[in-house]
Symmetry: C2
Subunit: 197 residues, 2 copies
Amino acid sequence: MSGGYLKGRIRREDIISAAAVVYGEAGYHGASLREIAKRVGISHAGLLYHFPTKEALLAAVLERRDAEDAEREQLGVPPGLEVLRRFLALAEHNVRHPGIVEVYSRLAAEAVAPGHPAHEYFDRHYRQARERVRDSFRVLAETGELRAGVDPAEAALTFIALMDGLQVQWLTAPAQVDPVGTLRCCLQNLLTVPLFP
Amino acid sequence: MSGGYLKGRIRREDIISAAAVVYGEAGYHGASLREIAKRVGISHAGLLYHFPTKEALLAAVLERRDAEDAEREQLGVPPGLEVLRRFLALAEHNVRHPGIVEVYSRLAAEAVAPGHPAHEYFDRHYRQARERVRDSFRVLAETGELRAGVDPAEAALTFIALMDGLQVQWLTAPAQVDPVGTLRCCLQNLLTVPLFP
């Protein structure tokens, strides 16, 4: 790896970090490449060398978050109880990083419109999350570990929606809302076995 | 009522409506009074006559939505099963008005920061919603209509969070998510009596 290549990689990562901060403050639409360049301490042209468009930078911010989450929580495990535990671990990670959660909540709310450059990302992200949790509930249903009468698809949609909704209320009033405790409790209520034996 | 007064009231309502549309498109921070004035077809100075600051206009948008919701759903009924039915009616109204839901989701996500001019509004709004639903679950618990083991405060937090979280997924992929059906199902699961006899 040459010094120049390494330097470029570091600069790229700095830009992505600064962009995430500015999105959290001003939203994606309110953020400008000029402001992000200023935070990193480079010129506007310097930023454009790494990210020629606003959309390219947004894609990089979202991809990095997914890659970090996937690596940390090893989200690639087969469907089952362990997947649910990993989602809970992700919620625990999130309450220690309110800044990331804030960026993410803002972007998700902005990106509901089909024309938004992050729309496809969130559409895919939500669908995949629902499917992973649904498949896990299905596996648990087969072994009698899901409470009778619980519909796997419905419970999965509910669980992912609850994660999102709790985060907004928790960010608004951190002392009044315990997202992790509430999620753990809701998950346990769906199961006939202990979530954490 | 003088003609001038009436004209002023209509103009004021037009500005509030245009502001809600622009917030939905650009977020509160991304919206400018100039753009809102342009939509209404009045001058910037004309808008400032009605709303001297961005914050004053935001407050008017939020107050109008609350007043409309309260009037339509008669949210002032005493705690109990009827309150839960009214929240469900609100969810039904919302799926017929995606534009309003979009504005609202965006503003809620923006306003999590204590410095945001809508922060106090959302803090109070969420707290009041949780308390109303919690008190209703408590009343139902006393009459044996709440399922055993359900904690009223926890269930209320969950229900309000679920409403919010479902709305974002539904706005992102309307064909894949049924917020009203899911909320009705979740509420019914908490009760020992039919939600709609």
